[in-house]
Structure formats: structure tokens, C-alpha cells
Amino acid sequence: MTQRKTIPGLILAILAAAGVLRAQQEVLLKISEGVPMVAVALPPFIVRTASPEAQAAALEIQQVLADDVKASRVFQPLPKEYYGYIRPLNPDKIFFKDWDSIQAKLLVTGELSADDSGRTVFSGKLYDVKSERFIVGKRYQTEKSGLRLIAHKMADELMKLYGEKPVFATRIVFVSNRDGNDEIYMMDYDGANQTRITFNKVKDYMPAWSPDQRTIAYTSYKRGNADLYLRNIYEGKETLIASKGTSYAAAFSPDGKKLAFCSTMSEEGNAEIYVLDLETMKTKRLTYSGGIDTAPSWSPTGREIAFTSDRTGQGAPQVYIMDAEGSNVRKVSFGGSYFDSPAWSPTGDRIAYVARVENIFDLYILNLRTNQATKLTESNARNETPSWSPDGRHIVFTSNMSGSLQVYMIDYDGANLHRLTDRGENKLANWTN
């Protein structure tokens, strides 16, 4: 009798809890450290057309997909030589025991063909080896320019399968002077397809992606003043959203409905943080300190904002957190005299920022649960303006470690540091938030 009562009660409780979570729309990701990575088998794709272009396309997709898997920190590609230990893949009848015997957890198969108009058609399938189960299949059709994107989309299918946010088909926006003056560009997460976005022929500055990566907020000096603009890069539509004072350091809220930014638009001309509601287009001021308040970054729940302020001493900025309405301000940086550029991780529990110590700029990660800060970069250089990947495993930032300013990527634990740009000077990379 008691058991009977308990079970429906428990179910109710679970449902209620689920309802609460849903209502808050919290998507808090968790990075499990020390968990072994999932081995993915990527046997050579089958090519159904005889053309050498199709062969090359298959190799390109395969290579990019393998690189994505390697970069993911969730999966790792099975060493190629393992495939020689078992029977070659027969897509019509897969011997899962073979794949299990070489420790593959996931199997990705791909087939390449051409449609009537000569476009590449790629069909990819994901299998769970242990349970001998087909999980998901995707068909993509593309011109040559889309081959890398196909691979990235396939890799994102793997990520989604493991409850992760898609990363590989997302893009990084940044500032480059490669064509003469500072303009805004974007690139794939791996540095490929570097494409110019703005053509203002003046100084464009501090771009920030909307969550759907269709719109950027950025500062341009094109009217002779540092004004803030929104530009839908695929429709070419541009809106001037702040033209009084100097406005910069924009950050979209995680739901894409609001834009936080720094501006001196007020009467006294002090740098304060504002939030623009993108539905009503009304601007609300959040900070009122006499010091400089800048560099807002939203928490993944959208309920809090991290920012920089020198309210306790000019020339000594610190990192603070406030509620998204501007109340409940508390300082979170400690033990140093110069902090800036907070970037709240999509996992919610970490804030990356820059600290200046003895004229060296390094990135640190503050763990909000343990209140411990860990140094992420270690170079006798300036490492600046961190921005997280959507899954919180990678950070893009600007560094002069090679001499000129370039965009680099590093993993959350300091691994896999590599450079993404090399033409001209490149800076102010933004991936999320």
C-alpha cells in the first residue's frame, strides 16, 4: 500500500522538477573531465561515381570530419591502421562484432554520389557498435564549396547525439586589417573560409554574434563617431542602434532577445552598461558607478551579466557580476590589479578573463563553484579577449605571441593551442555571447 502511494508521488515530483527546468529554459552543459573519449570509426567513404572530383571530395569530407572528431575532446578517431585488422566495411551488411573487436564505439559510414546536375550528394550514417543499432542518417547535397560544411554538420550530429551543442558548423567573427583597414571577417571554427563581412573602409570594431549567427552587433567609425550597429550578414540589412557617445563591447543575450553593451551616451558621458531590448528597441541603463563599466558578458541562463569596472580605482579594473536588471553587484576577481574581458562559459560555471601581471597579459579561468582561478595561457605576451565555443570546450583569443596580433584557439584545460589566422593583423575574435 505504501509503495503504491510512493511511486505515483515520485513520478509527480519528477514531472514537476522537469516542468520547472523547462520553464527556466536552462541548458546547462557539463564538461566531465577525466572521462575517456568515445572512439569513432571513420572507414573510407564509398564513392559511387567514377570521377576523380568525387574521389577528392570524399577524401576532403573524410579528412575534415576526422579533424573535427579529433578537436571535439568528446570523441577521438580510431587509428587508421586498426581498419586493416578487420574485414573491409560492407555498407549493406555491417559486421558490428568486427568493429567492436577494434574498440570502436561509434561507426560513421559515408557514401558519395552525384545527382543529375552534377552536384555532390553525401549520405552519412551513424551506428552504435555495441548495440548494433543504426542511430541517425543524413543526406547532404552541395556544390564544391560546401564539402567542408558537410563534414562539420556530420560532426555536429555526433555532438548532438551526446547531448552537446553543435560546434563545428559554427563560425568565428573577428577584426582584420589584411585589406588595409580594420574590417570584420568571419571564418569556420578551424580557420577555413575566411570571409570579409564589412566594407565600410573605415575602422570597424568589436563584433559580436547573435546566437543564431545570422546577425552581428559591431562598432563602426563610419559616421565619424564610434556607433553601434546591427547587421544581418545574410540579408545585408543594417540598423544603427546607438549613435550618442561612444558605444561598443556588445553581447547578445543567450536567447538573442537583448543586447548588452557599453556606452557613454548619458549626460555625464561616463562609460556605463546598457541593455537594448531587441523587440521593443528600448534601451535601459544598468550601471551607475562613477568609474568605467564595460565588457558585459551574459551568463548562459541570461539572468546575470559579468562585466569590468574600475569603480574601486582608476587604472585598476576588476571583474564583477550583477543581476541582468543591474542589481546585486559583486566582485569576482581577486588577487590582482588589472582584469578585463570577462567571458561567461556556456557551461555556466566558469568565467574566462584577462589579467595583467607585470605587463604580461594572460587568460585565466575562474571556477565559480570553487572560486578558484586557473591560468590558461602561459606565454611572455599579450593574450586577450577570450570567447568560448558553444560547448564551452574551446576558447578563441587574440595574442601577439608570434609577434603580430593573431587569433588563436585553446581548449578549456590549456591543451591544443593553435593559430587560426595569418594574413594581416587579426583580433577581437567572437564565437559566442
Binding site: 567609425y221 563617431n225 563591447a249 587604472g315 578585463d340 595583467r356 577581437l428
Partner: protein, 182 residues
Amino acid sequence: MKKFLIYALAIVLVFSFAVSCKKKPKEVPPPPPQAQEQPKVEKVEQPVVKEPVLSEEDIYLQKSLEQINKEKPLANIYFDYDKALIRDDARPVLEANSGWLAKFKTIKILIAGNCDERGTEEYNMALGEKRAKAAMDYLATLGVSAGRMKIISYGKSQPVDPGHNEAAWQKNRRDEFLVIEK
């Protein structure tokens, strides 16, 4: 016959008189010499427009903004590391700048604040603007009307010296004064 001679004589006389009247000028006394009689020398020249004497201000304002700014009529001022306070060595410079602005009353200026590379991007944008504002406020106390001044910050994105030493950093921590309207 006598009569005929008389007539003939009379005719001759009359005729000769008539002829003599025509030929011989009348005995008129010559008119007294008068000044008007002397033909005046009339100068016939194209009128030449004389160039007006230009004031220093007029001469200056004839130049293009680009030329004016090239001559750098307004000197830079410099700042301490991480600071936006007007230094003692900047005061005479600002006084000279305000004097120049008092001379050219129509000129409007842009004050551009800049920082060295040893600050972060966001904080330097704000610091650069504070430096520009400090100069604007100081010029205002010297009598330059606020409507003639605009400020802008370039953060650390426009260094004049790309070096990585104190000499370069000091040059980069500056306010520049540009003429934007005349």
C-alpha cells in the same frame, strides 16, 4: 554805254563781294583761350580689381581641412600609464590650443583619445575616451565653448609608434586635436 559799265561794275562788285565774302574769313576777334578747349587726356584702362587685404584668419580658413591638420596647429598632450588626468606638462599645451581656438572662432575640433598596448581592448576604449573628455573639460574651463568640441576614442587601435618600449608607449598615450569644421 556808261550805264552798261556801271551795271557791269556793279555786277562785278557784287559778284566779287560775294566771292570775297566766301573766301575771306570774317574779321572775328579770336576767342580767349579757355581751359576746356585743351583736350583732356582720358585714361582708358581696364579696371583692375584689387585683392583685399586678408586677415590671418581668412588666409587660414582658405586651406582645406586636410592641409590645416597636416600643419598640426594644435599640439598633442600625453598621459601617464593607466591615467586620464591632465598632467602639468599638458596644461601649457592646452592653453596654447585654447589661444589658437580663440583666434579662429569658427573652427570645430575633434579630440581623439588613445592608449598604449598595455591595456585590454575594452578598458582602453573607455580610458581613451576619458582622456579625450579630460582635455575637452580643460579647454572648456579655458573658454572654448562645448559646442566646438567633439570627442572620440580609438582605444589602443591607432598607435603612432609600433614599438614595445616605454618611449613608444608614452607617444601612444595621447590626445590628438583635429580640425573637423572651419
